[in-house]
Amino acid sequence: MAGPFNWLAQILSIAVFNLRTLPQRVGSSLTAIFGIAGVVAVMVGVLSIAQGIMRTMERSASPENVVVLRSGANSEMMSILMGDDVRFVSEAPGVAREDGDALASPELYVIIDRVKKGSGTDANVPLRGITPPALEVHKDFRILEGRMFEWGLNEVVVGVGARGEFEGLEVGDVIEVARENWPVVGVFDANGGIAEAEIWVDAAVLQPAYQRGNSFQSVYARLESPDAFQAFKDALTSDPRLNVKAMREADYYAEQSGTLYTLITTLGTLIAVIMGLGAVFGALNTMYTAVASRAREIATLRALGFHSGPVVVSVLLESVLLALLGGVIGALLAWWAFDGFSAATLNWSSFSQLTFAFDVSFALLVNGIVFALIIGLVGGLFPALRAARMPIANALREQ
């Protein structure tokens, strides 16, 4: 036991000297700390976009809900379902019913132009035509302000995300759709889900406005239970009258956000790695400076009999401690600056705007701090080895 104890005592002693000399190197230490903090803040910030999008998609999905599209369509934009298709879907086994009516909502999905508040540029905003069962299928739908539109009238309700991101979507405003005026009569939320980026109208008035006849693009249906999905799906895919595909809502949204999520995560990781390399050099510089400024002290300790191992570990400890400080500052900065920040971006699957809130989750903060520690370890390793390998006799003469 004496050996390891002795070794730990040496590490502790040298680490304490190192830390006590930090005030003498406050400039380079702060540079390293804030360099690493910047890297972590950017990394967490960018990844919180992907996290926020994923979370928006997760919140949109209900385990009992399914989406039915035309077979081969990857999104509602590319899908078309005729009135008969809708009827056959509604009659499929497993669809929940209320007072004898199927909880299946055929929906129309078109894109309109609105001006983004931040940039002043035009952006695609989804306009969704719904039918009365939609209010039972999309259980999170809730009017926040104003009222629900009247069925059969040219009125719209606006998702809270869309109102925040685009101009002219306040209650009382009037938007022009298909050369007709549509007053905004209410604002709704959907538990932070994707629907909050949309504008909803009565499908029955949207169909003639866009000359869609009795066609829709999707059917959202509520099943009796999540377990009913397979039977429902099998019934649809084996029905020769139908050419459709059925997906759980969660799978559909995951697929919809997949491209964007992968793009942002890859980009965020790439940025973090590039910036991280810069921070590693910053840490290297700081620790080389630290080792150089204490060359004689380190050599003296080794001359007195302290081993090289504890010298390496103690220098690494200092580097990791600086990185930890930087990591925590960066993580807190990211959390303070980004968490809950609302934004909109293009959903590559639907070519429409998706509003979401940056989500700086605990896991993301931990990842950011772990990344900082890796920077600290890599940045401290070579200076630590240098400290341990310096010829004692030469280093003792350093001024």
């Binding site: 002795n6 005592a9 002693s13 000399t21 300790l301 007195l304 009999g305 004692i392 006799a393 003792l396």
Partner: protein
């Protein structure tokens, strides 16, 4: 001419045999010591003199296990140190060597007592025992009233006393002093040399001191001169 035979000293605490030391600077080889033999009996106070670059400090570093010879053997207290691993050599230094440096080499962030305690961190002594021994060592060098002072608040002479206290606190086999008065005024130098002499005479410490100062060398029981890598009893003309 090497010292061992001519001086008639018997083999003792330190035995240096056929030691060469070659430094490399790029492709150039600098021979600092060549075939050097030296014996230092226990209890001796040996002064090593010589011009700059003569290899005095190199020899001291070799005896103290801070460097390794290019060739030859070095034994201290019947233990060959030139072939020890780095780890064993570090442990050996902690056990057997007390070092006194020209520029004191104290840790500026530690008090005098903490500086003296440093080598004891490598032992298994309890905290209170370490503290007690450090206080005794500081008392021996006459600094018991300055224990909690930091190096920057001490004079050069006082800092060197702390350095000596640190060197003797582990009761080492050998005390190696590299220009211990080189950075001090005459009065402080005298005090430090008094102290080293007292440690040698009253406590039987074996001391090897490198110095440029003839007055300092006069305090030693024997003086050897090193020039061009060779030892002699007289300075070269």
């Amino acid at each position: 001419m090497n010292e061992t035979v001519e001086d008639g000293a018997v083999s003792g605490l330190v035995a240096v045999r056929g030691v060469d030391k070659v430094f490399k600077r790029g492709s150039e080889e600098i021979h600092v010591l060549g075939g050097l033999d030296l014996d230092i009996p226990e209890g001796e106070f040996l002064a090593l003199m010589g011009p700059s670059g003569s290899g005095k400090s190199t020899l001291l570093n070799l005896i103290g296990g801070l460097d390794r010879p290019s060739q030859g053997t070095i034994e201290v207290a019947d233990e060959r140190i030139d072939n020890l691993s780095n780890r064993k050599l570090a442990a050996w230094r902690a056990r057997h060597i007390g070092l006194v440096f020209q520029f004191y080499n104290l840790m500026p962030v530690l008090s005098a007592r903490r500086n003296v305690e440093l080598p004891l961190l490598l032992t298994h002594l309890s905290r209170s025992e370490r503290r007690k021994r450090a206080e005794i060592a500081l008392d021996i060098v006459g600094l018991s009233h300055r224990m909690s002072h930091f190096p920057r608040t001490l004079s050069g002479g006082e800092q060197q006393r702390v350095g000596i206290a640190r060197a003797i606190v582990t009761d080492p086999t050998l005390l190696l002093c590299d220009e211990p008065t080189g950075d001090l005024d005459r009065t402080s130098s005298g005090e430090i040399l008094d102290l080293l002499q007292a440690l040698n005479r009253e406590q039987g410490k074996t001391i090897v001191m490198v110095t440029h100062d003839m007055h300092a060398a006069e305090r030693a029981s024997r003086t050897l001169f090193l020039d061009k890598g060779r030892l002699s009893l007289e300075p070269s003309v």
